[in-house]
Amino acid sequence: MIVRVQAEDFDTGAELADFAADRQDVGAVVSFTGVVRDSDAMLDRMEIEHYPGMTERALTDIAATAMSRWELADALVIHRHGALRPGERIMMVATAAAHRRAAFEAADFLMDYLKSRAPFWKKEVTRAGENWVAAKDDDEAALGRW
């Protein structure tokens, strides 16, 4: 299980090439990468704040839950903090399992929990001003799926 919280960028390709590379029993690797979106060309940057210590703990708990629920061979979570420009990678998750269904479901689960249960907060700094991104009811409701 790999959990990293960092300011630096990461190389999605290199991470996936290394992920579960030594496991012969893996038949499926699923990954998701989150990118800073600027839908209306107003965003200067996204500032991501986190709670050092609790963040690592929460991500490790979430990944451990996914590992046990889906019998994963491995799970990876990388999440950045600090100021990120449109188009920059924010985070990625990857899951490795014998078969694809478990890998897809576990990756979906990781994302749902990471959205609402990992202590990160996003502030959008736009040409019109700045505002904290509000949590969506949909994101909270999504936890009910699991």
């Binding site: 989150g34 704040e49 709670y51 210590g53 609790m54 703990r57 999440h79 924010i90 985070m91 994302m111 990471l114 959205k115 609402s116 249960r117 990992a118 202590p119 990160f120 907060w121 996003k122 502030k123 904290w132 991104v133 509000a134 949590a135 909270e140």
Partner: protein, 83 residues
């Protein structure tokens, strides 16, 4: 009892500092919130609507009626927006 209190995101901005150390006799999170609210208007503003806030005790999510026995670190923040 001495507590480290941490604030994040707009709670931190409203209160004007990221953390502070506090001597309190509050028994629960709700009691601590009452104490903080009474201190200064900036605290009253930050804690005006508890439904907009979350709390963690020693880095684990908790409820506002949770006891503070043995707790060292209390953090207040808005609902999380990771991913």
């Amino acid at each position: 009892m001495t507590l480290d209190i941490l604030y994040f995101a707009w709670v931190r901005e409203r209160i004007g500092e990221p953390r502070e150390r506090l001597e309190t006799s509050a028994k629960t999170v709700a009691g601590l919130v009452e104490e903080l609210r009474a201190r200064e208007p900036r605290y009253a503003a930050a804690f005006a609507d508890l439904s907009a806030l979350r709390v963690a005790l020693d880095q684990e999510l908790a409820d506002f009626d949770a006891p503070l026995d043995g707790v060292r670190e209390v953090a207040f923040f808005p609902p999380m927006t990771g991913g």
